[in-house]
Symmetry: C2
Subunit: 409 residues, 2 copies
C-alpha cells in the first residue's frame, strides 16, 4: 500500500465523460490498496475562455483579479470529479488551493509555493476518502487568491507529493511517457521507461512538453519519483510509462538520452554596451523586476571596451521585455537593440555526457553538415543547447536524433 499523488491535465478532464473515466481510473488505484490524492487542471478550453473574457475587459488588468478569475477553472473540475467519484460509491472530498491550504508568495499569476498544510488531507485519507485538489492555485498570507503560472498544476502535484511524503507522483497526460524526442517531429523516437530527474530537468527546461520545468525542479530538489503516463491508455497495475527518478536508479548509461526542442522563445540582443562590472545586472535587473523569466544568457568577450549581450525570454514576454531593453539602451547610450522571435532552440541531453568529451563538437558538426547556422550556444553539465533559425528546427532534431543513435529498433 502506497500513497500516490496523481495529476490529470486539461485534456484528461475535458468533458464530463472524460471526468467519469478519470474517476474509474482513480477507483482502480484505490482498489489496488493505495491512498490517492488527485490534482486536476481546468477542463481544456476553459482557461482560454477566461483569458478571452479578461482581454475583453483589459488585457493589462490587475494581476490580483486575473488570478481570482483564472482560479475558477480548476474549482469547477474538483467539484465535478468529486461528484463523479461519490456517484460511483467512492467517498471523496474536494479542496481549492485556499482550502488545503497551499500558501504562496504574493506574486500574482506566477506565485511560488511556500507551505502546504497536509493535516486535513491526511485526515480524509485516513477515513478512506480520495482527496481532490485544484491545481495551479494557492493563497497568499492575506488570503488573496494566487495562481502558479504556466503548468502550475504539475507543480501543485509534486508539491503535494512532497508535503505528504508520497511514494510516487503520477502525471497523467495524453502521452504514455517521455520519448527520445517528439514523435511528431521524428517518427523513429523511442520510448524511455526510465530517466534520471536531472536528465528530465534538462529535457523539460529545454522544451519537452510532457512535464513542466518547475514541477521537475521541485521533484529534483526533494527527490520525489515522478511517473509520466497516459490517461487514454487501458488501465493496468503496471501501465506503460516513464519513471523519472534518482540518477543512481537509472541503470542504462548512454551518452545522449534525448533531443529536446522549443520554439516558444524570442531572442533579444543589446549591442555596444560598456564592458564593465555590473552591466549584466543593469540590463537584466529591470527584466526580472517585471517577473519575466530569462532562459539563455550569452555575453561574449568584449572589444574596444564594448560588448554585446544576448538573452532569450518566452515569446509572450517579448513585447514587454523589448520595451524594457530599449529603455536600458537609452540610459546606456548603447548602439542598438535587436529582437527576433523566428528562432528555435535544440538541445541534446544525457547524463553520460559528463564523462564523454566531444559531444558538443559532434553536435556542431552534424548541424554544419546540413548547412544549419548556429546562432547561440549554451551548455550545462548534461546538455548542450543551440539556437537556430526556426525553419531549421525539424531538420536539426531529425539529424541529431539519427547521429546520436536514438532511433527505435
Amino acid at each position: 500500500m502506497a500513497l500516490i499523488v496523481q495529476k490529470y491535465g486539461g485534456t484528461s478532464v475535458g468533458t464530463p465523460e472524460r471526468i467519469k473515466a478519470v474517476a474509474e481510473r482513480v477507483i482502480r488505484w484505490v482498489q489496488r490498496g493505495h491512498d490517492v490524492v488527485v490534482v486536476v487542471s481546468a477542463m481544456s478550453g476553459e482557461t482560454n475562455r477566461m483569458v478571452g473574457l479578461i482581454n475583453a475587459i483589459d488585457p493589462a488588468g490587475a494581476a490580483r483579479e486575473k488570478d481570482v478569475i483564472l482560479a475558477t477553472g480548476e474549482q469547477v473540475t474538483i467539484g465535478l470529479l468529486s461528484m463523479a467519484l461519490q456517484s460511483k460509491g467512492q467517498d471523496a472530498r474536494s479542496y481549492t488551493g485556499g482550502q488545503v491550504k497551499i500558501l504562496t508568495d504574493e506574486v500574482h499569476t506566477k506565485a511560488r509555493i511556500r507551505h502546504i498544510d497536509d493535516g486535513p488531507m491526511r485526515a480524509d485519507l485516513a477515513q478512506g476518502r480520495v482527496v481532490i485538489v485544484a491545481g495551479f492555485q494557492g493563497v497568499d498570507a492575506a488570503s488573496n487568491i494566487t495562481t502558479l503560472g504556466r503548468g502550475g498544476s504539475d507543480t501543485t502535484a509534486v508539491a503535494l507529493a512532497v508535503a505528504l511524503k508520497a511514494d510516487e507522483c503520477q502525471i497523467y497526460t495524453d502521452v504514455d511517457g517521455v520519448y527520445t524526442t517528439d514523435p511528431r517531429v521524428e517518427p523513429q523516437a523511442r520510448h524511455m521507461p526510465l530517466l534520471s530527474l536531472e536528465e528530465m530537468l534538462e529535457m523539460a527546461s529545454q522544451g519537452s512538453k510532457v512535464l513542466q520545468i518547475r514541477a521537475v525542479e521541485f521533484a529534483y530538489k526533494y527527490d520525489m519519483p515522478l511517473r509520466v503516463l497516459s490517461s487514454f491508455d487501458d488501465d493496468s497495475a503496471t501501465p506503460k510509462s516513464t519513471l523519472v527518478t534518482r540518477e543512481e536508479d537509472v541503470m542504462e548509461e548512454v551518452m545522449v538520452r534525448g533531443i529536446a526542442f522549443n520554439r516558444d522563445e524570442a531572442q533579444l540582443t543589446i549591442s555596444g554596451v560598456p564592458d564593465q562590472p555590473g552591466i549584466a545586472y543593469q540590463i537584466l535587473g529591470p527584466v526580472s523586476d517585471a517577473n519575466i523569466e530569462v532562459d539563455m544568457i550569452i555575453q561574449n568577450v568584449g572589444r574596444d571596451g564594448l560588448t554585446d549581450f544576448t538573452f532569450t525570454v518566452h515569446r509572450n514576454d517579448l513585447a514587454q521585455a523589448s520595451l524594457l531593453l530599449e529603455q536600458t539602451a537609452e540610459k546606456l547610450d548603447a548602439a542598438r537593440c535587436k529582437f527576433d522571435d523566428q528562432i528555435a532552440k535544440v538541445s541534446i541531453v544525457g547524463a553520460g555526457m559528463r564523462s564523454h568529451a566531444g559531444v558538443a563538437s559532434k553536435m556542431f558538426k552534424v548541424l554544419a553538415d546540413e548547412g544549419i547556422n548556429i546562432r547561440l550556444v549554451s551548455t550545462s553539465e548534461i546538455k548542450v543547447s543551440v539556437v537556430v533559425d526556426e525553419k531549421y528546427l525539424e531538420l536539426a532534431v531529425r539529424v541529431l536524433h539519427e547521429a546520436f543513435g536514438l532511433a527505435a529498433g
Copy 2:
C-alpha cells in the same frame, strides 16, 4: 455622502460590454460622493452551463460539491468588474464570499447567512476603494463553500447593507421598479415609486420576480431601505425606481396595491388522514427535513375523524416531496395522495386591507364572474392568495387589476 450597497444581476453583467457599463455606473455613484459596495451575480447563462455539467456527472450529486462548482460563476464576475473599474482609474478590490467573510450554516445549496465580517470592506472603503463581493455564496465554519439558493445574490446584498449599516441597498435589475402587476400580463400595470417593506414582502413571496423573498425578509427584519432600479436606463442622480421602505414612510394609502402571481408551485394533497394532534408535523416534518420549502398549508375541518391536508412546494421540489408524502401515506394508512403542478397562485396585496372588510369577498366575486374556480385560499393581514388552474392565470390577473382600480392613468 452615503454608503450604498448595489447589486447587479446576471443580465446586467451578461457580457464584457455590460460589465464595463456597470463599472461606469458605479463610478458615477462614487463621483457623487458615495461609498459603494457592489454585489454581483454570475454572468447570465453561466449558472445554467454549470448545472449542465453537474447533471452530466450526477444530478443527485453531493450538495457540497455542487456549491464548489456553482460558486465559481460569481467569482469570475467580481474579478472582471474589479478589473473594469481599475482600468477606468477607480481603485477596487474583489472578495469571494469566503474572503469577506460571509459565514453561513452548513446547509449546502440553501445556506443561511449567520455573520458577516465588515472589517476588511470598511478598510477598503476608507481608502477610496470600491468593494466588489460575489453574491450567492459564503463559507461555513469549517471553510466549506456554501451557496444561498435561488436569488441568493439579492440576499447577499441586503445582508452586506445591514452589516455595514448602509444608507440604502440598490437592486439593479432589468426593470425600473415594481409595478402593480407584471406589465407583460397586464399592459395597464402602473409603476409604484414607493412601497412598504411589508407590502413588498407579500408581493415578493407571492411571486413577483423583481426581488427575492429572502432578501426582502432580511431587509424587513433589519429595516433596510431597498431601491429597485434598472441597469439599462440612462443613469441619473435620481433614477426612476421603486423605493421599498418602512410603512410609516409610505404616504399613499390605497386598499389594494398590487397583484402578484406565481406559476412555480405544485400542489400536494393527502386525503383521509386521522384528524388528531401532531398530524401536521407527521406530514410536513419529513418535507422540511429534506430542506424543501413549503409555501401554502391548508387543512380543512375534519369529518368522521379524518381530514385532508394540502400544501404547495416549488415545482422543482415536487418529485422529491411527492415521494416523501407517499411514504407518509403508507405509514398513516391514508386513503390517497394527489399531486398537481398545473396550478397558479394569484394574490392581491395591500397594507390598506387591514382596515377594509370585504376585500377578499370582492376578489372571489370577480373571479367567479369569469368562471374561474378557486382551488385553495390563504390569507394574511395584507394579502389574499388563491390557487387556480394555471390556464386561468392571465385572465385572473387582468380582471383583478381592473376591478381594484390599479390601471395606469
